[in-house]
Symmetry: C2
Subunit: 290 residues, 2 copies
């Protein structure tokens, strides 16, 4: 799908593709948008099939491939897998399917946690049950530094708390205290927010674990690696956007596989703006049955 004849001059004007199982990846979009103001983005939220975290490996792989092929067919220069579950389970299959660079969120988050910690890093990871069970963050951290001491724990209520936008409610503080007690006891140097929703609760998480723990936003770490990769490959978009770009402006295109209204509402809660271009599409099984 990525035509080999396409010149770099043309390729670098293409957008960056991002997919997520739903709305959570909008925090990754925000990180990319802030880090790379000259780039534009095509975002796909697979809202018809969210969540991926409770689904089997085969199912997640299949969905991830369908999402990737859809975005690649739109014409993109690089693919970001914003979904932690798909990053944990499906990167090899995606890379083997589409002829493009693919950046996930787990590797960048893990590497950044090691980079900001000492020579014998003590790292905590919080994520969904499925991401923790996959052990993908721990494996990536150990790959970056064998000596790392790691604890991992799931915080299932953080996702609905973020979607409720209860970012500083007493209940949120109390639940954070309960979930993160083991992190506080472990006294890590850095704490990886290994779920795309968690940066919405960044302040309460930081207050709970204390200011001396470095909070790693996997989306921001991913944006750093994407920036470096574009530079290395000469794929940075050369244009200068006139004026200041806003999140969700009409240079960025958003697709969802279902319930666009709800996506728009949550986008507004998460980003302070509704997508100017938001479109509902059909993917995978749906196509084959109509």
């Amino acid at each position: 799908m990525n035509s080999p004849e396409l010149s770099n001059d043309l390729r670098r004007t293409l957008p960056i593709g991002i997919f997520d199982s739903g709305v959570g990846g909008l925090t990754v979009y925000r990180a990319l948008h802030n880090r790379l103001p000259n780039e534009h983005f095509v975002y796909l939220g697979d809202t018809a099939r969210v969540p991926y975290g409770t689904k089997s490996l085969a199912t997640v792989e299949r969905y991830a491939i369908e999402n990737s092929v859809f975005l690649a067919s739109r014409g993109i220069k690089l693919l970001v897998v914003a979904c932690n579950t798909a990053s944990a389970l499906a990167l090899p299959k995606i890379r083997a399917t589409i002829g493009l660079d693919v950046v996930g969120v787990i590797g960048p988050g893990a590497r950044k946690a090691v980079a900001v910690s000492g020579p014998q890093p003590r790292i905590a990871v919080i994520a969904t049950e499925a991401t923790i069970q996959s052990d993908a963050y721990a494996a990536s951290i150990r790959q970056a530094c064998e000596a790392a001491e790691i604890i991992q724990l799931a915080c299932p209520l953080f996702v609905p708390l973020a979607e409720e936008n209860w970012t500083d409610e007493p209940e949120t503080r109390s639940i954070a205290k309960r979930y993160l007690k083991r992190v506080v006891d472990f006294a890590p140097e850095s704490l990886v927010m290994g779920c795309t929703h968690y940066p919405i609760l960044r302040n309460v998480i930081q207050k709970t674990v204390g200011a001396n723990v470095k909070l790693i936003d996997s989306g921001e770490a991913c944006a750093d690696e994407v920036a470096a990769l574009l530079k290395e490959k000469g794929l940075e978009n050369p244009r200068e956007v006139e004026g200041k770009r806003r999140l969700c402006d009409d240079l960025d295109h958003f697709y969802v596989t279902d319930a666009a209204d709800r996506f728009g509402r949550v986008a507004e809660r998460f980003l302070g703006a509704k997508p100017a271009k938001l479109e509902a599409i059909e993917l995978g099984e749906v196509d084959s049955r109509r």
Copy 2:
């Protein structure tokens, strides 16, 4: 799928089918099991495609039909739609597709709320965002009693709190107090728990709204109507089960469309027992792509 030649003698020995989008319907299964100890059940949890509440009408209808056809093809005498979203959106299509009696949870819950209230009933309904937006409970209540005064509100955190099994944690009490403040102010005669997960939090909900508010479990109301319907049609199972039946024993068969392990774990939290017979199957789009 329901052979018209089947004699009533044979039909009444068939199980009752139940489907839900996931694990929540287990509270409906429990209510049916307790109310009808001579019956056995085939339960389908569509865990590959949960949740339905954020999906569009067309998608929910399609999934509901696939689930119903699967259960009908197993040989059942009656179908219970335990999922509130599917009960709100898909009953007419299901009835038109399978030649069987179909009982949802919304009609029974609404009728019971009216029955236990006075001549000018004041009824509160709590449910997921999608069920509230569908207005299905309010419509059913008004159908049973035009004079009813109704408030409806969504309690999105109740589902993950139930799945965490935080049934009496201080955070749960505090969140319940916050969500249900409008219910307390409204001072209803009855409160419908219009989401299958909510009965898990029954005690904290009852404490929050006060002992004088009658709590309606839509699953229990559904079980009452199923019992009446079986009697009316002469379809009660004539056998006497030897000894006392347990929830999830080997007379009941459970199917899930994905992630059977997690289903078993949550079943244990909700019911105190893992299904003796639990099987993963493939439905709909999955079949057509392998």
